[in-house]
Amino acid sequence: MSFLLAFLIGGALCLVAQLIMDFTGATPAVILVGSVVLGAIAAGLGIYEPFAKLAGAGATVPLPGFGFSLVSGLLREMPKEGWVALFSGAFKATGAGIKAALIFGLIASFVTRARA
């Protein structure tokens, strides 16, 4: 059941993003930035957490889930760290994915041949 929900809801998010791109002619970068911003706002309004509980990876794997992680990580640190969490909190939940992409990207650039 969790696999079916992940497929349907994750697929639906991607479908909506594709439709917005095709109908507005926006570039992928604009769609991606918009997705993260909307995910973060939805997280701030408390909408995204129940959505993620329902959809599992269908909600956390697409980019709006990245915005959700930024906000939920920050808000989780805030009771402990106070205002400092405004600057330190967001990376706690998302740092692993960002750093993994950076490290694998650097490794890939070192081991592959430069394309002319």
Partner: protein, 147 residues
Amino acid sequence: MEPKEYRQRVRRMEQPRPVARNALWAFVVGGLICVVGQGVQSGLMSLGYDQESVKAPVSIILVFLGSLATALGLYDRLAKLGGMGANLPITGFANSVVAPAMEFKQEGPIMGTGARIFQVAGPVIAYGLLTAFVVGLVRFAISGGKP
């Protein structure tokens, strides 16, 4: 030629965007990537990770898979078919980092790979962090940070 007339002519010459087919493939590819993510998550949780501690390793593994597929030249093909279905998941985030890292290698490790590696992911991270900051500020102003 008048600009208006030119735009009309361009519109006539343009291939109509296959909107329905793009949307269907985005749905299928994006959905399947999320199923892979759900599989990784379920697998790790059966190894003893809980709902919170599983998040980081799931991200790392999906980023690894997306990076590997990018390095092998497979992810570009998937993105051509799936569009946003390949770009929106975190594997597409990995692709957006790894692809320029490889592509700009010829311009050197610092100003090529180093400077360009976040050329798509950078804006995403920047505006994501800004939004999170504003959301946090609002929460802080309302409740002093208490949940």
